[in-house]
Every structure is written in C-alpha cells, then in structure tokens.
Amino acid sequence: MQREFLDFEADIQAIVQRIEALTGYPDSHRAEIAGLERELLRRRERIYAGLTPWQRVRVARHPERPYSLDYVNRIFTGFTEIHGDRRYADDPAVIGGPAWLAGAPVMVIGQQKGRDTAERIHRNYGMPRPEGYRKALRLMKMAEKFGRPVIALVDTPGAFPGIEAEERGQAEAIARNLREMARLDVPVVVAIIGEGGSGGALGIAVGDRILMMENAIYSVISPEGCAAILWKDPERAHAATEEAAARMRVTAPEHLRNGLIDEIVPEPPGGAHTDHDGAAELLGERLRFALRDVAAGSPADRREARYRKFRDMGNFGLEEAPSRTARDSSAPVDKGAAGGGTAGYRPANTG
C-alpha cells in the first residue's frame, strides 16, 4: 500500500487509510472494502488524468516510485550486476550487467536511486559521477563485442555537480558516451523511467528507441534551476518553479509531440509508485516489443536510422532567416556551393 502521499493526493490518502483500517476485519467489511477500492481507482484515474506539469515532476520524484533495480528484477531474469569503470572506481549511482529479456541475453544499464536514507547516500541520490558514465560505456562496448542489445533505464536528477566529478571529467565522460552510443553496432533501447535530468540523463540515453513512462519527466535543467536563473525572484520561487516546469515542456506527451521520444509507456492508475508489479509489466511488454522491432534490421541500417533520428531532433524549431549578405571577408559568393545542405547526406560510417 502507498505510504507517502503528495499534496494533490489528499483524497486518495483518505481512502487508502480507510481501507487499511478495515482490512483488520475483512469478513464483516468485504463489501465496503470492495466499494472503497473501486472508489480509490476512480479517484486515482481522475486525479492522474489531469496532472499539471509540476505535479508530474513530483510524481517522477515520488519516494516510492520504482527505481531501475525494481524494474530489472521484475522484467528481466538472471540479472547479475557487474561493477567498475576499470579506471578509477565503481559508481553505485549506475547499475548494470548481463540479464535475459524474454529469454534473450541483453546488457541492462540503469541509473539507481536509493530507497532509504542510507541507500540514498550510497547511491548519491541517483547522481552519477564520471565513473558511472564510464562504467556504462564499458558495459555497452562489452555488449557490442558480444553482439548483445543494450537496455538503458534513465532515472537521475542530473550528473553529480561536485569538485571531484569535475576533476575527473564529468563533461568528458558524458560527451564520450553521446558519441559512442551514436555508433554502437548493437540495438539500444532507452526508457526514461523517472527523472530525465539534463546531460546526466542523456549520457546513457542515445538509442534506437526512446521510451518514456507516462509520469516521467525529461528536461534540460531542473524546473528549480531554470526558475532561479531566468525568473530570479526568490520571493515567488515556488510559483516560478511551477511555471518553469510548464514552460520548458518536460512531460512525456510534450516530448512525443516534439519527436524527442518514440512512445509513452502507460503506468498503472495513480502512477507507477502505487503498483510496482503492474508498472514493470507494462514497461516490460514495451521493452520487448521495441527490442524485437529494432533488432530486426542490419547494424548499418540501424546506425543510420539512429543518426537520422537524432540529426533531425528539434529541426521543427528552425525557420529561414532573411539572408544576410556580404558576410564573407571577400566579395559575396554563391552560398549554394558551400555544401552546407543535408539533403541526401549519408553518414560515412554506414556506407
């Protein structure tokens, strides 16, 4: 049963508590409990159908939301965690290892948050250090060597902003992952399961299919960070944060509309945190389907499709600018010969 309730879940909390009070006497109250459970489902469906972007952010960060290992243990069989980046350390904010999805071997990688205080600190609140990205890449290259697909589960507030993370090249670690994931020879299926926090999320999120859980978020900066930088108004920081969450379009439906993700994975009514098994079943089915789909093509075709997919992201945000003439150092020349066009362009690595 759900233990922690968000402010907009007050109605749900009342019913859950009523049900719990009655479960001590199941025989005499069976009918009442059944009625309350129907009512609970109705309320959850109604509340969750109308979540604001900021409420979605709250759900994505819900302390009872399933984390990577909750999904891995339910969706995959035979998962055995392996450790270390072979350069400096093992980062507990990233987990990974061989596992079997519907009987087929895959490399599963995930960003991992902690459930209780001790584990949260151990997992660094799901904020990877450079070692985490380097471990992820090591595992991906291993998967590539043995021809196994990669499944990446994204759930991080962001890459860790700390002194030692900068010293060891946080930026370089993420950058390298972006470039190397773009050219992996094996299928890569990504699922944003909770928080997709900026470059720290993207660092394991370049793939052939990008799935996103219904109540997950994906954002270039946290709404709090955006509000602090752009609104600069500590007096109404909370209102600005809510507004930033809405303005930056952080929710799954917005990303689907904008072509940044391929599909939304539905969650159980009331959110994934109310039913880990149900959420895992829904995600597992979509992962299997996505993997079957992308594994069908040749490696070269897949890489080219992956390239095109990211190559075109955000292009609907471009418009033609009035030509500015005489920008060259010498006399104006025909810009048509400049070779900047992309029509018919083929990446050299897939020819």
Partner: protein
C-alpha cells in the same frame, strides 16, 4: 577588420557587451587585474591584457579574423534562426531575447561557420558568439555545428570549433538538450572518416557544450584562465556547501587533471592549430590541387563544391 564587435564594459555580466554599432571604448577595465587599459593597446594585443595577460572575451568574427590566413574566410552559416518552438517566456519573451541578441551581434544565433585556411590547411571553422544569449546552444547552434561537421566530412577537411558558451539554451527546453546528442552523433561520423577535429575552449565553456562537442576533439585546446566545466561554480558551491579551491575549473586546472591537450596563449593559437593540423592532415590530391587553384585566385577560400570527393 569588418567589425568593431565587443570590447569594454567588463564590470557588467558577460552578455552586456556593446554591439557592432557602438563606438569603441577609449579605455577598458581589465577583468583580470582591474587596471584601466588603453583600448587600442588592448586590440593590438588581441584583447589580451598587456599587464596581467588576462584573455578578454573575443567576438566570433574577430576570433575568425585572428585565426584564418590573411583574415580571409567564406561564411557558410545556413540562413536559419529559431522560431521559438516552445513559445517560451519567463519574465521576458524568448522572442525578445532573440531579437536583442540579433541586434547586438548582427547574427541570427550564437555561432558563425566559415571555410578558410589556417597556415594553408583548409578547414571548416565554427566559432561561438557569447554576446548572443550567453552563447547558449539551442536548435540553431545545433544545426549550424552539425552542418559544419557534415561539410567537413563532405569536403574531407578538418573541423575546428571554438566554444564560448554557458551551455544548453533553457528557452528551448529539451530540444536544446538533444543538440548535444545530435552534434556528438555527427562527430562520430567525422571520427569514423578519419578527419581531424580540434576543439578550442575559451572563457567560459560550461554545461551541455562542454559535455558534448567541446570535449570531443582529437585535441582539446584552451585559452589560459578560461572557466571550463560541466556544472557551474555556483551550483557546485551549493551542492558541497563550501568554498571551491583556487583555480578550480580554470584551463590550468583541467590541464593538470588530464582533460586538455594544451593551454595555448591567444597569440600562439593560430600557430598551434596550424602545426597540429599539419600533423593530423594531408589534403587529398583533389583537395590539394584545388588549394593551388584557390591560392591563385586572391582572397578566396577553396570552393567546397570542387573539394567534395565521391564516397
């Protein structure tokens, strides 16, 4: 020099520099030593403080003219601009920020892409303009730099990107974030093609720009004293609830931690690029002959249409 872009007013925050129309300040206060410097002396010293060697920010066009042979280049930036895809506003409309940036810089967004030669090696050169919304990377910068990479691939010439940016552009949300993946994917193609990419990091280069193309050079060079990092110092200070060590996230710090190939003084940058390019690259026969043709026609960079090789 075709522009009088950007000097002076160093006391204010980064993007408050005067536009091309504003007359040069006769005197400028150095951000490094706070001394008042004669503007002309500063310009003649490539905007490096003659007293303390502080590297002041350079406008994109000045940077290009400083780097390329005889100051000769051919702009190949696409005629594109942002259509404000998220219809974003905070306390200010994003559209207003865009027009203000355009007014201030004479550019459509925060980057200029050119073809030119550096010490006789033909290159595609992309230079970021900090005065345009803090050099932030949105869909336009993403597309311009991706096209720069693709042009380098098609023409089989080296790529140089000079970064100067606060990171991804919040006003375009996750579309900006994805430009990191987009450009990095293109760089994978360039890398597979065996073509050189030199990244030059200047003050400041942070956030999503550092965590993508700025750190992916075959060589990563930086100007002295440049702030370079993933997270900004303010965020890190908040996270650790303490002070940052002196010199943290400056070029020399990154060099010490193995993240840069070299820290290069501005006056030596062109020479360093030329030398590294000669090490990394020999023009293909076709390109070489075009280069000779180009050299014959004064003040024109090689024609990319002719350089393009069949693959």
């Amino acid at each position: 020099m075709s522009t009088s872009e950007g000097r002076g007013n160093p006391g204010a925050s980064g993007d408050s520099r005067p536009g091309p129309q504003v007359p040069q300040g006769l005197f400028v206060r150095c951000e490094g030593c706070s001394e008042i410097i004669y503007g002309r002396a500063l310009r003649e010293n490539l905007e490096v403080c003659p007293r303390c060697d502080f590297h002041l920010r350079l406008g994109a066009r000045e940077r290009i003219e400083m780097l390329v042979d005889e100051g000769v280049y051919r702009e190949i930036s696409a005629d594109i601009r942002s259509n404000d895809p998220l219809r974003f506003r905070d306390r200010v409309e994003y559209r207003d920020r865009l027009s203000k940036g355009a007014e201030k810089t004479g550019l459509d967004d925060a980057v200029i892409v050119v073809r030119a030669e550096i010490e006789r090696t033909p290159v595609v050169l992309a230079v970021m303009e900090y005065a345009f919304i803090g050099g932030s990377m949105g869909v336009v910068v993403g597309e311009q730099i991706t096209r720069a990479v693709e042009t380098a691939c098609e023409a089989r010439v080296p790529l140089i990107v000079v970064s100067c940016s606060g990171g991804a552009r919040m006003q375009e949300g996750a579309l900006s974030l994805m430009q990191m993946a987009k450009i990095s994917s293109a760089l994978a193609v360039l890398d597979d093609a065996g073509l050189p990419y030199i990244s030059v990091l200047t003050h400041p280069t942070t956030g999503g720009v550092t965590a993508s193309y700025a750190m992916l050079g075959d060589m990563n060079l930086a100007e002295p004293g440049a702030l370079i990092g993933f997270a900004g110092p303010r965020v890190i200070r908040q996270t650790i609830r303490g002070e940052l060590p002196p010199g943290f996230q400056r070029s020399e710090f990154l060099l010490r931690h193995g993240m840069l190939d070299r820290v290069v003084h501005r006056r030596d940058l062109r020479g360093a690029l030329g030398s590294f390019l000669r090490f990394m690259y020999e023009p293909a026969e076709a390109a070489a002959s075009v280069e000779k043709d180009a050299a014959a026609t004064v003040h024109t960079a090689p024609e990319p249409a002719l350089v393009r090789t069949a693959r």
